[in-house]
């Protein structure tokens, strides 16, 4: 008589994985539930852009030879949130975007706090901001090179930033060339 094999499985080769079916069914229910929940409460996405304070931007722009990009936005603005999600929280788009400009975020707080800080008011007045989002690219001489109102989609937006920053590079005052990735 042959010795008993270690770890021998008795019974037929067909085994119904009941536990796996229960887990799969529970996960399917959880999938639908979390899908509905996240439809109404989307998860927080990280901001991958290193924003520069408005006061420090001109010095930084001169140092790195890139134009300044002012992103005028507000927390209640839907297209601003779409831009945040599709560009600033997207690793690829944010990395491309950051190579062209020195980014400065200017957030309007009038609806939340009743007033803006002096620098926000001043920048909005200088660049004639009347809608959000408004994005202005400013050359080394402080003059606006180009401006965009609204969010036309991530790819179009990043392409516009690349084109406008290239135009800014042609303007006098920006020393070193902007690297094109």
């Amino acid at each position: 008589m042959p010795p008993a094999e270690r770890g021998r499985v008795s019974g037929p080769s067909r085994q119904d994985p009941k536990l796996l079916w229960i887990v799969a069914a529970a996960l399917l229910v959880a999938r639908v539930a979390t899908g509905i929940y996240e439809e109404h409460h989307p998860p927080e996405k990280p901001d991958l852009v290193s924003w520069v304070p408005a006061a420090a931007a001109p010095a930084r722009a001169a140092a790195v030879g890139r134009p300044i990009l002012y992103d005028f936005s507000a927390e209640w603005c839907g297209p601003c949130q779409a831009m945040e999600r599709d560009v600033f929280a997207d690793a690829k788009q944010a990395a491309t975007f950051s190579t062209f400009v020195v980014p400065v975020r200017v957030v309007d707080r009038r609806r939340e706090e009743g007033h803006n800080s002096a620098i926000v008011d001043s920048l909005q007045r200088v660049h004639g901001v009347s809608a959000f989002p408004t994005v202005v690219i400013v050359g080394a001489d402080g003059k606006a090179i180009d401006r965009l109102e609204g969010f036309p989609g991530a790819q179009h937006f990043v392409r516009w930033v690349a084109t406008a920053s290239a135009r800014a590079r042609m303007a006098p005052g920006l020393g070193s060339p902007i690297p094109i990735p």
Partner: protein, 199 residues
């Protein structure tokens, strides 16, 4: 995005290649019939084939990432350790997902029919997605996106780097697809008539 990120993307295709015909070829060649003469259960065959393809794809991708990191260090760059861990985890999840789907398809058809089934579903869903986009049928576009997600389940670990909470929907979707694929694969193999004549 990390310089090494494209390397992490090879996990899914490698898992698909390794899992292609995992069950179907053994059925067609009669190997599985011989294997089941031994005290081996059908569910364990499916699970072990899935694990083998997943582990092999993950090891190959991890080795590639390590070689890429060494190349970067030689060139003077210093890859982020946490980013490397993220890419290995993403590779593991992609490999596990793709291998589970391919093993499931492999239990449905013989030989390498699973590869044909995979690409036929992929191409058909892409064509339907184009149609949905053209006709502005949101439901069709969404359904096709779900099919794409089910064919190559992936899980992003990007949140680990930024300290933000993960998307529970993404996590549960990935786990749900993998568990369903394995369960369907086992159920199909359990019901399959295996004999030398059934080929």
């Amino acid at each position: 995005m990390s310089t090494l990120s494209p390397l992490a993307g090879i996990a899914s295709p490698i898992a698909l290649i390794l899992a292609a015909g995992a069950i179907g070829q053994d059925v067609s060649s009669g190997t599985l019939q011989l294997l089941l003469v031994r005290p081996v259960s059908r569910p364990s065959v499916v699970v072990h084939r899935w694990l083998a393809a997943t582990l092999a794809a993950t090891v190959i991708t991890t080795m590639t990432l390590i070689l890429g990191s060494v190349a970067l260090v030689i060139r003077g760059a210093h890859p982020d350790a946490l980013d490397l861990i993220r890419m290995v985890l993403e590779s593991l999840c992609s490999a596990a997902g793709s291998a589970a789907v391919m093993v499931m398809l492999s239990t449905l058809v013989g030989g390498l029919g699973d590869v044909a089934l995979f690409f036929a579903t992929l191409i058909l869903s892409q064509m339907l997605e184009v149609l949905g986009t053209f006709k502005n049928w949101g439901w069709l576009v969404r359904a096709c996106a779900e099919i794409h997600g089910a064919l190559s389940p992936q899980l992003s670990w990007e949140w680990m780097l930024h300290g933000t909470p993960p998307s529970w929907f993404a996590l549960v979707s990935w786990a749900s697809t993998v568990s369903l694929a394995i369960a369907v694969g086992i159920a199909r193999l359990n019901r399959r008539e295996l004999s030398y004549a059934a080929g």
